[in-house]
């Protein structure tokens, strides 16, 4: 069974926000909405200060709280682990947004474009207005790519835009159920953690922090 996951190598991320920009371009999210963000964290006190850049977004959890609380069944989980939103079912109650521990969901009530008029990549329809939106793992690219026999995470045409754009090779995407996949190899070779694992959500976003002992 395929289970898509994202791996972020925190040792490599330089906080350039190229993934943020690529996501914005690929998904044409409105101003103020960033499905892929990179948090700039400073830890400690001078002179013992450390800095880390942490890509965040929808974690496509195994047990997503957003799906359980959704009163409309608009939020669902596919067999391959991707958490989706049916914009035609969603009523925009924002319950999912307050239930998500990862601040991954957004709702805008007015159509806005960064350059006033819609650019060619921007959707002029109102289907994403007044409903919840979030990172989709670029599900359209994955589905179109796999239909052509491409491998997400390996072939760029089938890989999420943020991963393709990463200048430091910090972001990786692949099937964690496949022991031969790129992400499985990374997880085997390195030590990793997942965000807020204590909540039992089972996030499918792994953070590498050191090589395996």
């Amino acid at each position: 069974m395929t289970r898509w996951a994202m791996v972020a190598d925190l040792r490599r991320c330089v906080g350039c926000q190229t993934c943020t920009a690529a996501c914005k371009q690929a998904n044409a999210t409105p101003p103020g909405v960033q499905w892929r963000r990179v948090i700039d964290l400073e830890v400690g006190e001078y002179p013992q200060v450390k800095r880390a850049f942490v890509p965040v977004g929808c974690m496509h959890c195994d047990d997503p709280p957003c799906m359980h609380v959704c009163p409309t069944t608009a939020t669902r989980k596919r067999a391959d682990g991707i958490v989706t939103i049916d914009y035609d079912l969603c009523i925009g109650c924002s319950y999912c947004a307050v239930a998500c521990p990862y601040q991954a969901r957004f709702k805008v009530d007015r159509q806005e474009f960064a350059f006033k008029a819609a650019m060619p990549n921007e959707d002029r329809s109102d289907k994403r207005i007044g409903v919840a939106t979030k990172c989709t793992f670029c599900v359209d690219r994955i589905d179109a790519g796999t239909a052509q026999g491409l491998r997400p995470g390996v072939d760029p045409e089938a890989t999420p835009a943020c991963v393709n754009s990463c200048i430091a090779k910090a972001l990786h995407f692949g099937d964690v159920e496949d022991p031969e996949s790129n992400v499985s190899a990374l997880l085997a070779e390195n030590q990793f953690f997942r965000m807020h694992e204590e909540l039992g959500t089972g996030p499918r976003f792994y953070y590498l922090w050191d090589k395996a002992p």
Binding site: R11, L41, V69, L89, I91, S94, Q103, Y207, W209, D210
Partner: protein, 244 residues
């Protein structure tokens, strides 16, 4: 790190908890005191309807509101909506049949419980997901309903028990959840909403009821709009870079 106040639910959502809680509490009190009047039930239904109307104003796609009924299997919001339908059914029925009033009160309790579980299920917000929020919301609603009941001449003893239970629930919540935003309304609830009404209830019952109601509403407004910080992000490990 990066903990921030949620902005998705504002006072409109809070009104559902405030008005709906007081309305369902009043329904329970009406049944407990076996009131023969229709006015308390009418007011309770009006409050619940106003609360649901307020939250309807907040949703992004108002014409699709009926979709809220689609997920009774896991969503407490769907269950709350279904409970509301039953509340209105038995509540209106109680105008014609006395046997319907206890059933309206039971469904009112279910409605109130669903409201409490709505907050409890929000895993991203520590002030909501604490188990202690469930008795807090339940007893706050009941105390508000008992406060309203005093305006209709209902039994003061039920009011006394309800406000004491609410104060206890607040104390348990406060021990479990440290939230500076909850302190001012919490203090008001303890003194102006509990001690003062207990002193006043036998002298000026409506004033005691009003104080219990107002402090309960303030507490819930603060809980939904001021104390609702997302827990933010955390790094259990920092990246190891360079030579070791």
């Amino acid at each position: 790190m990066m903990s921030r106040l949620q902005r998705s639910w504002d006072a409109r959502a809070a009104l559902n908890f405030m008005l709906g809680g007081a309305g369902s509490g009043l329904l329970v009190m009406a049944a407990l005191t076996g009131t023969a009047e229709s006015w308390p039930v009418a007011l309770a239904l009006a409050l619940i309807a106003a609360g649901l109307g307020a939250v309807w104003l907040e949703i992004g796609r108002k014409l699709r509101a009926v979709h809220v009924f689609f997920n009774p299997f896991t969503s407490w919001m769907t269950r709350e909506s279904l409970a509301a339908v039953v509340v209105f059914g038995f509540g209106i029925g109680s105008f014609f049949f006395t046997w319907a009033l206890p059933l309206a009160a039971l469904s009112g309790m279910a409605f109130l419980y669903c409201q409490a579980r709505i907050l409890r299920a929000a895993k991203g917000i520590p002030a909501w997901r604490a188990p202690e929020v469930v008795p807090l919301i339940l007893f706050t609603g009941l105390a508000e309903g008992a406060g309203l009941g005093l305006f209709f001449g209902m039994e003061p003893m039920i009011f006394i028990v309800a406000v004491l239970a609410r104060a206890l629930a607040w104390h348990r919540y406060r021990v479990a959840v440290k939230s500076p935003a909850m302190e001012p309304p919490g203090k008001a609830l303890a003194w102006i909403g509990t001690a003062l009404p207990l002193a006043l209830v036998l002298l000026v019952a409506p004033a005691a009821g009003f104080l219990a109601l107002a402090t309960g509403w303030w507490l819930k407004l603060a809980l939904v709009t001021r104390a609702s910080f997302n827990q933010g992000f955390s790094l259990p490990r920092l990246p190891v870079r360079g030579t070791r």
